[in-house]
Symmetry: C2
Subunit: 239 residues, 2 copies
DNA sequence: TATGGATCCATA
DNA sequence: TATGGATCCATA
């Protein structure tokens, strides 16, 4: 798989020059580079999306890519995924006002923050959280918001979102995260550095190496998640 | 439908005391109150979720609720939904840095912001955007982020998200937006008031009036969106 | 084609 | 039960 670029949204306290970050970045770039298809080929080759006779698109599922990334990070790169950074709802219950009573109101925080895809410690101890984002694009917003909050609370010092390029996006499950649809919001997240003593927020963009229109080349498996059955049924009807 | 509370995340420049806001709030509270089921009953009664023999849950679809809200806002309340606030990608292309080159980088903004569910002008001219959030909870994050950016850019002066209570949430399509799962993030959005001269960001929580376990009482229609077919097929298999 | 959405799944 | 996710839909 091809790494395209890493965007630094903000950085405070020298994390950018630290081995914590430098080593981690090199490491996860290797883990990305090793994601290949067919397995062992050394390159990530994907069949292009194709419109079927019934008007539906055939595309690649996303589970394989994520599984390979985590496999490489834990195996080859030797990172130990530590306990989830359980963002306890500490100090995040906001003091608001109710309308129209104008009464002060503290909305109870009744949900916990779930974990990140990958949480570990850098070579010098910085806490790191990485999100591999191939869920829905709206899920990328939650991921970025969560990373920003974890940085603000000092629970992590490095937060990374890995996201498909717009070009890759087109050949994966419809509406997955992609850098294009995040681009208009980057400025907002970049503005969340205020008050952070030590922290770095980055977005890394990835892409396939090759595309093919070879009809004999299988798509990456599509899971049963989401509305899969809906599409499968249509496919069967068209058979 | 029952209004539970309206939370003011932030307010600047006196919007809170303006008729723009006061009139709008009264108006959309009326529009919410009129959402009923069965139609004409004056109360929103929903059948409780039920676990089927195959382990799956039966729940209410969400399209009806949103349609009724918009119907009341446009019809009874007389609001004219104006052209979408097309958040043009102005001044939001962030100045970032690339790593490891450290080169300055301006990520091109290659996606436009889509519209809001409802956009109009207040009685004194304030621009208003309302989001009725019954999409996936992650979609609520995008909605809130978008409202915050529109307020920061001065394109709107009032931004409102209407979202189900946790109690209502349980009886609707799995994983729709709900106040509980947003609660840990409210503080973040409340902090985005910086630099805004005139603007208000609010979250309004709504709920059903009544629940029933009557098996003869129909669920609100479930659409073909998402993974609907998947569930339907399971249902058929169990028949 | 592009964006917001609705739906059900997987797993701790 | 709760949270993050994967999938396909509707519509301008």
């Amino acid at each position: 798989m091809k790494w395209l670029r890493t965007l630094i949204l903000f950085e405070r306290g020298g994390v950018l020059e630290s081995p914590d970050w430098g080593d981690l970045h090199q490491s996860y770039l290797r883990a990305i580079a090793k994601i290949d298809n067919p397995r062992g080929s050394g390159r990530l080759k994907l069949r292009e999306k194709v419109r079927q006779p019934n008007g539906q698109w055939s595309r690649n599922g996303v589970n394989y890519l994520k599984a390979r990334f985590l496999e490489h990070m834990k195996g080859d790169e030797g990172w130990l995924p530590e306990g989830l950074v359980q963002l306890k709802s500490e100090a995040i219950s906001p003091e608001l006002r109710l309308y129209p009573s104008m009464m002060p109101h503290r909305e109870p925080v009744t949900s916990t923050f779930g974990g990140f895809d990958f949480v570990t410690s850098g070579t010098q101890g910085a806490k790191v959280a990485i999100e591999w984002e191939t869920g829905n694009i709206s899920s990328s917003h939650r991921s970025m918001n969560k990373l920003a909050i974890a940085l603000q609370l000092g629970i992590i010092q490095v937060g990374v979102l890995i996201v498909p390029s717009r070009s890759l996006y087109q050949h994966l499950t419809d509406r997955v995260g992609n850098i294009s649809e995040l681009s208009g919001y980057l400025n907002m997240w970049a503005g969340m550095a205020t008050g952070i003593e030590r922290g770095l927020l980055a977005v890394t963009v990835v892409e396939h190496d090759d595309l093919t229109v070879d009809e004999a080349f299988p798509y990456l498996t599509v899971g049963m998640d989401g509305r899969a059955e809906q599409g499968r049924k249509k496919g069967r009807l068209a058979e």
